[in-house]
Symmetry: C2
Subunit: 113 residues, 2 copies
DNA sequence: CAGAATCCCATCTGATACTG
DNA sequence: CAGTATCAGATGGGATTCTG
């Protein structure tokens, strides 16, 4: 689903949107970050089953897409915070629609992790 | 992104939603089918660059997900029509939100194919 | 017309181990 | 704490050829 950053735009805009939200963990990560700034391991704890490697790459891609911001506090031990950007905020209606649909039509099995 | 039909539900519902809409061509195919029943090659003509193989697999998956219906007319030459199901219709608000966001925020490059 | 069958490679993801 | 590095397996998507 992810391509070289500009192949994305060569196709239709809808595809670019899915590219931003469609990653394996991106939507769920965004839900959490939309609620408030989160630290790296905090996100990790929220998503059991998500490896550090995946967490890193998904966050990095979203940062590159400009939907989240990464703030490093130069201290020991290190502290890094991830927050939503104004651009990321524009995804809120879409994400809400996504959650609405999911809750209404997929629910049968489990609640949100 | 696609897994064994029940691994999907083991995770969160949002993931299942993305699984239905997130395929490379699914969203765009759904937009077209939502507008009205379409034949196989008709869809193919609407999406230049989409191979028959991809068209087939994406349609089959969406059929399995219950969002579209496949109707075969037993005649020569064959005629197969794809239409939206009531369940598929429930995706309309989400798809609309998707298109809205995409048009508003990705537009810079190209119009919809 | 509407596909099925193969082949094949580029990613994506996951598991594991190591580090400033 | 917040990553990086490496490796291996699974998946996705495309090209091509064949057919009822």
């Amino acid at each position: 689903m992810r391509k070289q950053r500009h192949e994305v735009y060569r196709n239709c805009p809808v595809e670019a949107a899915l590219d931003i939200v469609g990653g394996k963990w991106k939507a769920i990560l965004l839900f959490h970050i939309l609620e408030g700034t989160k630290r790296f391991n905090e996100l990790g704890r929220l998503l059991p089953g998500l490896t550090q490697r995946m967490l890193t790459t998904q966050l990095r891609e979203m940062e590159a897409d400009g939907v989240i911001a990464r703030t490093v506090y130069p201290q020991v031990p290190p502290k890094v915070e991830y927050s939503i950007t104004p651009f990321g905020r524009t995804l809120e209606p879409l994400l809400r629609e996504l959650a609405l649909w999911a809750d209404a039509h997929v629910k049968p099995r489990l609640g949100e992790p």
